[in-house]
């Protein structure tokens, strides 16, 4: 009986995993397919990759994306770390407000708050562009970063910091020598994730970018709309390799941190 039930769910699982991977496999195959219409396999080529790498729009997009992602990540980390340090010693009611705001920033459909920010910026005559995009990304990125750092601060032992303070370290020194090192894996993971989310974003950027250089995902979106060329597949594969690597490193940073606490507790 047990075997039979697993046989059914196993089959569904296999189908679902194929469904998840097949489209990505098609992109990978087409990125080296010589046939420009991509209807049949036309032989191996790397020319789409060459085209992608030398495309000036893609290059400018990548530069813009890097600037936005790096700045938004740093801002998000500053907000998340200070917020989490406060959260550790806050009362339960203020904690609930804090947590509610964190979840809301993640749950609210991006379109809604991107339009809201767009409205405020245009009414206040604040120039749309890279600065506005960074502010927008940081709204949800700081929430993701907060969630990750928070998980770590919750398991942090205050006794260590109290001991350092008792031994005469001032608050800043306690933070730098005790709190920060033990938070580091979480901060690293949060930073990598924030960078990747920002790197990947379309909607917020689309609204707040104005006439500034569009970021890479927005460039890709307009290429898809106008069905420019098979080089989208090559760009896609390159972007995918980058984001998967970032996520994998972030994941290892988080699970590595979990491993070391478990070991130190044992």
């Amino acid at each position: 009986m047990r075997i039979r039930r697993h046989w059914f769910t196993g089959l569904v699982s296999l189908a679902v995993i194929v469904f998840l991977w097949a489209p990505l496999a098609i992109v990978a195959v087409n990125s080296v397919n010589k046939n420009p219409l991509l209807v049949r396999w036309g032989g191996f080529t790397t020319s789409w990759y060459h085209q992608a790498i030398s495309n000036p729009d893609v290059r400018a997009g990548l530069r813009a994306t890097m600037v936005v992602a790096a700045t938004s990540t740093l801002l998000s980390l500053a907000i998340a770390v200070t917020g989490c340090l406060w959260w550790r010693r806050a009362g339960s009611r203020s904690r609930r407000v804090f947590d509610g705001m964190t979840y809301l920033r993640i749950m609210l459909p991006e379109v809604v708050f991107a339009t809201a920010l767009f409205l405020v910026f245009t009414r206040a005559h604040f120039q749309l562009g890279t600065g506005a995009v960074i502010i927008g990304h940081t709204v949800w990125n700081s929430a993701y970063a907060t969630l990750i750092v928070q998980a770590r601060t919750a398991s942090l032992d205050p006794a260590l910091e109290d001991a350092a303070a008792d031994l005469g370290a001032n608050p800043w020194r306690v933070f730098r020598r005790v709190t920060l090192p033990s938070l580091f894996p979480a901060i690293l993971a949060a930073g990598l994730l924030a960078f990747t989310f920002s790197f990947d974003d379309v909607v917020t950027t689309y609204f707040l970018n104005g006439t500034a250089n569009p970021t890479l995902p927005v460039v890709i979106l307009s290429m898809i709309r106008f069905r420019v060329s098979p080089e989208i597949n090559a760009i896609g594969i390159l972007v995918m390799l980058f984001t998967v690597t970032m996520f994998a490193v972030a994941f290892l940073a988080v699970s590595g941190a979990g491993w070391s606490t478990r070991r130190s507790r044992a």
């Binding site: 769910t9 991977w21 489209p23 500053a78 917020g83 339009t115 809201a116 709204v139 995902p217 972007v239």
Partner: protein
């Protein structure tokens, strides 16, 4: 000394508080205020006279259909994710540890690839003469080309494709926590496997199912990129109407009203599922 410490501690809340108020709460309040304003489509001047015209305009079949379609598509995609995701999560949770890890990697890695690229990838899959069409033709399900791309069905498939891992993970977490001995005890007491599943497994998995449905259903309702790419640029969902009103038409009060409706829908879903999701988030 103590008061200085407290002051310092309070100051730590400042960056988050200031940022959230300035760039999250204030904009949302502003958008609510604007949803009651009126715009002159000649001069684009906005006047505030607190009227409900924008909300009435949503009843216009053109927009009301989109509203209904957004809700139906997001419910349909959520149900689709559940139907595909539950068996998968269940299967993974019943495997030995090592296999659980391997299978989870297979589920999560596609989710780690760029969102826009993933959506583009589904275009390839659903193409008239694409791989799915080939497969369905070989199985004699269809005889001609596959006519799915740039229809609401394609959008639903795209949403399911992009959001599926968000459904699988919370259900897996809930199922994985179930003690095997609990299931064995139920079986020893004479419950059939179906009964064990219905009376023990399913109720314990419910919080995970609820979280999955919320984190799939709510973002799906406001989806912009997927209908834009897979819907062929028609205003299929609310996200596209809002974007159109803001960036192309310039009717900001009406766009704001739709955004407020979207927020209200989200609030309803969150409140309705609170009972189930609270357990999960602690």
């Amino acid at each position: 000394m103590l008061s200085r410490d407290r002051l310092l501690r309070g100051a730590l809340a400042l960056p988050t508080a200031a940022y959230v108020v300035a760039f999250f709460i204030v904009p949302l309040v502003v958008i609510v205020v604007y949803s009651f304003a009126r715009v002159s489509l000649v001069t684009f001047n906005i006047s505030f006279d607190w009227n409900l015209d924008n909300y009435r305009q949503i009843h216009d079949p053109l927009y009301f259909d989109t509203l209904v379609r957004s809700v139906v598509l997001s419910i349909g995609a959520t149900v689709g994710c559940l139907l595909l995701g539950f068996p998968l999560a269940y299967f993974i949770s019943r495997q030995p540890r090592t296999w659980q890890r391997v299978l989870l990697v297979f589920v999560i890695v596609p989710f780690w690839t760029s969102f826009i690229v993933r959506t583009y990838a589904t275009v390839n899959l659903l193409e008239e003469h694409g791989p799915l069409a080939d497969l369905l033709q070989t199985l004699h399900v269809i005889s001609g080309p596959l006519m799915i791309l740039y229809t609401p069905r394609a959008v639903a498939i795209g949403i399911i494709y992009s959001y599926l891992p968000l459904m699988v993970l919370p259900i897996y977490v809930a199922l994985e926590r179930i003690d095997d001995e609990l299931l064995a005890a139920a079986a020893d007491l004479g419950a059939s496997p179906q009964r064990v599943f219905r009376r023990v497994t399913l109720p314990l998995a419910l919080p995970g199912v609820a979280v999955g449905c919320v984190i799939v259903g709510i973002p799906a309702m406001g989806e912009y990129v997927i209908p834009e790419i897979l819907g062929g640029g028609k205003t299929l969902m609310l996200g596209n109407v809002i974007t159109d009103q803001f960036l192309t038409v310039g009717n900001i009060p009406f766009g704001s009203a739709i955004a407020v409706v979207l927020m209200a829908l989200m609030a309803v879903v969150l409140l309705a599922t609170r009972r189930f999701t609270r357990v999960e988030t602690g």
